[in-house]
């Protein structure tokens, strides 16, 4: 039985994280009502969400919002900030219209020397404005993408979240999906490091299912290796493509 304080101590010694790193887009609210105001704050990072450890997020190659089929770049409106102790980006986005606004980030490929691989996590999250959920199942056409089958907001803790993993527009049979909780309070405990990142597989149609045990933000990352390698100092290296979606589950009300 291993408890988090021990894991944390080991981490401090430089043992390396047990969790996965995730591209992250975390909005201040994903169901914005008219009483909440007229904008949403967005925090972009590259982090270990369970352990609360930030990594450097370089300026993304793309950051967009998609609403009613129209995609607009927000790249110029990002400003640098610090998230989980590391450089990230933030902005406040005015919600001018009702409906689902999908925010998506394409980071620059990240060189991970420990794994001898380049990593690109195509990351997105869905925000419903003013009680209107139209567009909740929007597919953005990213290189790799989790297309939601469950509404990616308005979920109770304990509900399942289902999605289809796609790569180049096609479902990925038996895709591996890593699931991790964003421990914003820093108080989650695990009986084993195996519980920090849970791994599930999609079925033959690329459909995966996960029931979140607790309220809060959960990240789903479906990982594939790009058919084409990337070059580093003249040598071919694998390029890991991640389809990441951030989904919030709500505490059951009384």
């Amino acid at each position: 039985m291993k408890h988090l304080p021990l894991a944390a101590a080991l981490l401090a010694l430089g043992a390396g994280g047990a969790g996965a790193h995730y591209g992250m887009i975390v909005p201040s609210d994903n169901m914005v009502s008219q009483e909440d105001g007229r904008s949403v704050a967005l925090a972009l990072s590259f982090s270990h969400p369970f352990e609360g450890r930030g990594m450097v997020l370089d300026r993304p190659e793309a950051f967009t919002v998609t609403h009613e089929g129209e995609t607009v770049s927000l790249l110029e409106q990002l400003s640098q900030t610090t998230i989980m102790g590391a450089p990230g980006y933030e902005m406040s986005y005015p919600l001018d219209r009702p409906g689902t606004h999908v925010f998506a980030m394409t980071p620059a490929p990240y060189w991970e020397p420990e794994e001898d691989v380049f990593i690109t996590h195509y990351t997105k999250t869905y925000v419903a404005a003013y009680g209107d959920d139209a567009g909740w199942d929007a597919e953005l056409g990213l290189r790799t993408e989790i297309v939601p089958l469950s509404k990616p907001f308005a979920l109770w803790a304990g509900n399942v979240f289902q999605g289809v993993v796609k790569l180049d527009g096609e479902p990925v049979p038996h895709a591996e999906v890593e699931v991790e909780y964003y421990d914003q309070q820093g108080d989650a405990q695990v009986p084993s490091d195996l519980m920090i990142t849970q791994t599930i597989k999609a079925d033959a149609n690329g459909v995966f299912t996960y029931a979140a045990p607790r309220q809060g933000w959960w990240g789903f990352a479906a990982l594939s290796t790009a058919p084409e390698p990337m070059q580093r100092e003249g040598v071919d290296k694998d390029h890991e493509l991640g389809a990441v979606i951030w989904v919030r589950f709500e505490a059951w009300g009384r």
Binding site: Q34, E35, G37, P98
Partner: protein, 112 residues
Amino acid sequence: MMRAAIAILAVLIAAPATAHDLRVFAFVEDDMVNVEAAFSSGRLPQTGEIRVVDDQGAEIERHAIDPEGVTRFALPEGHAARGVVIEVDAGNGHSDYWVLTPEDIARGEGGS
């Protein structure tokens, strides 16, 4: 400021969100109020009434719903500083509202 104003206005009306219920969104453009009303199914209410109410809950005026989905009328004078509530009743218990805050109105007054 805005939150406080909305909270007071919102208490005046209770509109629960249920299946196939009405969804109302309003904005101001060129001093005209645009009221969009649709059921959650996407269908448009064919009949019904819009009540414009001041920040004390007093009715200012009424308009019939435009069956095309967007009802437009001039912003009533003298209410820009305090905001108005747009109440839409499409009958059979299908009602919803949108609070046009002073900020919402300022954004659309004499704008593009």
